[in-house]
């Protein structure tokens, strides 16, 4: 098995289309990091002066009529200047927590997921397209072993790359904050690295899923088409059928990557009657509209899907004729 794994890792390394996707999985997050570092750079004195000049009429209007701007009359000049200059520079300082909650963290996970999924499907789609799968089976007839060796190669390569990219991403943002002397909560780096690891795990599972689907459909195009269709139609069907938001794919990704999230739940009409009595519903009770979606729910959701796909893929590969 180790020998076969080595062969598959070599095959993966030699396949240029896969390499190109892996390079993109490094370059795009690097660009996102660079853009975040640039977009949150400290405002220079020159930019402040320029903003003050651009907003001079609004500053003056604010100073003249501070109440209109919600500014206390005391220190109105300084407060109005800070406020208007803030509008013109429009730059939030870098924050690890901010990037995790609603910032670039999910974008990096999405990029890694997309490229690694494509790498997983391209890697083995090539074997089917060229017919070289049959040649491989003439040298190793145990189809189960062949399936697992390729799966392990995809999983190992994807996780190492995703973990390295995620770690590098969060370390870059952390180092930038340190260099800018920005305040940081205790454990912010550890939380961010854990977030990155969960994202890397999800991207790896996506790569494995892409691989398993391609072994099932025997075509990269079919796999990408099915995944595209599911991603477009899945959410719509779930919403149309009135299935709860906790079963939406995106919500479960968030639950995994963010170590739990919340979702909006429909509540019975009787809850609104109680609401008029001004009593707060118990958290996660029948009447609570905002409910928790745990990491374990997300893992179960995607775990079952991955296990079903992998099971069907292995069974198909072992039973069906190979062209």
């Amino acid at each position: 098995m180790i020998r076969l794994l080595g062969v598959e890792l070599t095959r993966l390394r030699w396949r240029r289309a896969v390499l190109a996707l892996l390079v993109l999985a490094i370059v795009v997050p690097a660009l996102i990091a660079a853009s975040r570092v640039w977009a949150t750079r400290p405002v220079s004195q020159g930019e402040l002066d320029q903003a003050a000049r651009n907003g001079s009429s609004e500053i003056q209007d604010c100073v003249d009529h501070p109440r209109r701007y919600g500014v206390p009359a005391q220190d109105a000049e300084q407060r109005c200047t800070d406020m208007v200059v803030g509008w013109y520079t429009g730059r939030e300082p870098l924050s690890l927590a901010g990037e995790r909650v609603g910032g670039s963290g999910m974008a990096v996970v999405a990029v890694l997921t997309a490229f690694l999924l494509l790498a997983g499907t391209t890697f083995v789609g090539h074997d089917w397209n060229t017919g070289s799968m049959s040649n491989q089976l003439l040298f190793e007839a145990r189809r189960g072993r062949v399936w697992w060796a390729k799966a392990l190669a995809v999983t190992l390569a994807s996780f190492v790359l995703a973990a390295a990219v995620s770690t590098a991403y969060w370390l870059t943002l952390w180092a930038t904050m340190r260099a800018r002397d920005l305040p940081m909560l205790d454990g912010a780096l550890a939380d961010s690295l854990a977030y990155g690891m969960r994202g890397a795990g999800f991207a790896t599972a996506a790569a494995l899923g892409g691989y398993a689907l391609t072994m099932l459909f025997r075509s990269t195009v079919a796999t990408v088409g099915v995944l595209f269709g599911v991603s477009i139609a899945g959410g719509i069907i779930i919403a149309t059928l009135g299935i709860g938001e906790q079963w939406q794919p995106q919500k479960n990704v968030s639950a995994i990557v963010k170590n739990g999230t919340t979702y909006y739940a429909e509540v019975p009409d009787s809850c609104f009657m109680r609401a008029q009595e001004a009593t707060e519903p118990e958290p996660n009770s029948e009447c609570d509209q905002i409910r928790d979606l745990s990491l374990w729910h997300g893992l179960g959701y995607y775990g079952v899907a991955l296990a079903a796909t992998a099971g069907a893929s292995v069974a198909s590969f072992r039973r069906r004729d190979v062209p």
């Binding site: 020998r3 080595g6 095959r11 090539h126 049959s134 003439l138 190793e140 145990r142 039973r319």
Partner: protein, 303 residues
């Protein structure tokens, strides 16, 4: 009877198609003895490739049993596949990898040293082009690479499906010589080919199939049969015909005599003072046997 390397009994393969069930192989028996080169002949669509693919575990048999080296396949295929080299249909390799890269991956998967790759490349005459991408190879070079891949295992059984497709005459001769020498060295070769002259030159035994069934099997000499016809060359054919008629032979307009006693022909003509310049046995060739057996069986089954 020598040990059988390949045995198949009652082999059947059905394919489900949009038009319904298609039977590619039906109740096929196959027995290939150890050593020598065994021809596997049949018209297009007769089920040769399907049979080979079932033997190699690439396709599942609908019914029947198969053995390689006495081991039931596909159940015990993993234990014998290391002794089987095979080229099935067209060579299938990764087009963007070089020939050497393709061979290296296959060699590593069985733990063969890289020196085995060097030797295989040299044996098939690809030295100098082995680092070029597979997609740049001519069809002949691709065939050579496929044969090189079979040699990585140092096989005891070689299954070759149309191995000379796309080769130039010199290449065909090289491959034929290679096959013959492999057969002589103790390797059992199952050679599927449409080129009957080639099979007759190389093979010691053969199986002919049609519509997925075995039509004939045995030593090539036995399949072709003993000569019963002789061509005579004499200065005066009419005089010779009269003499032979009296002696109880019939000389046709093509100057052929049907007999299993050719010595009596020379004796009768010599006694009459007619001296033969030639008496040539006219044998049926494999092509004649093949065409007789397979006439009307073309396109009978899906391959």
């Amino acid at each position: 009877m020598s040990e059988l390397v390949i045995e198949a009994s009652g082999l059947r393969k059905e394919f489900r198609t949009r038009q319904g069930l298609r039977v590619a192989v039906s109740d096929l028996d196959l027995a290939v003895p150890a050593g020598g080169v065994h021809g596997f002949l049949g018209p297009n669509g007769s089920g040769k490739t399907t049979t080979i693919r079932m033997l190699l575990g690439l396709a599942h048999a609908t019914a029947g049993s198969m053995r390689l080296f006495g081991e039931p396949v596909p159940d015990r295929l993993p234990s014998v596949i290391g002794r089987v080299g095979a080229v099935v249909e067209s060579p299938k390799f990764a087009p963007h990898f070089s020939g050497r890269q393709n061979l290296t991956l296959l060699a590593r998967s069985i733990g063969a040293p890289s020196s085995r790759v060097d030797a295989a490349v040299e044996t098939v005459g690809l030295t100098g082009r082995d680092r070029d991408r597979f997609k740049t190879y001519s069809l002949g070079m691709k065939q050579r690479l496929a044969i090189a891949a079979t040699l990585l295992k140092d096989p005891a059984l070689l299954i070759l499906d149309e191995p000379t497709n796309g080769l130039d005459p010199a290449g065909i001769r090289e491959i034929r010589d290679t096959i013959r020498s492999l057969g002589e060295s103790g390797v059992t070769v199952l050679l599927s080919s449409h080129i009957l002259a080639e099979v007759q030159q190389v093979c010691t035994s053969a199986t002919i199939i049609g519509q997925g069934r075995m039509l004939a099997s045995g030593r090539v000499d036995d399949l072709v049969g003993a000569s019963t016809s002789y061509r005579v060359a004499v200065p005066d054919p009419e005089a010779a015909r009269r003499v032979l008629d009296v002696a109880g032979f019939h000389l046709t307009d093509d100057l052929l005599v049907e007999t299993d006693r050719p010595a009596e022909v020379t004796q009768a003509l010599g006694a009459a003072g007619i001296w033969l310049s030639e008496l040539t046995p006219v044998r049926r060739d494999l092509e004649s046997v093949f065409l007789e057996l397979t006439s009307g069986t073309e396109m009978g089954a899906e391959q």
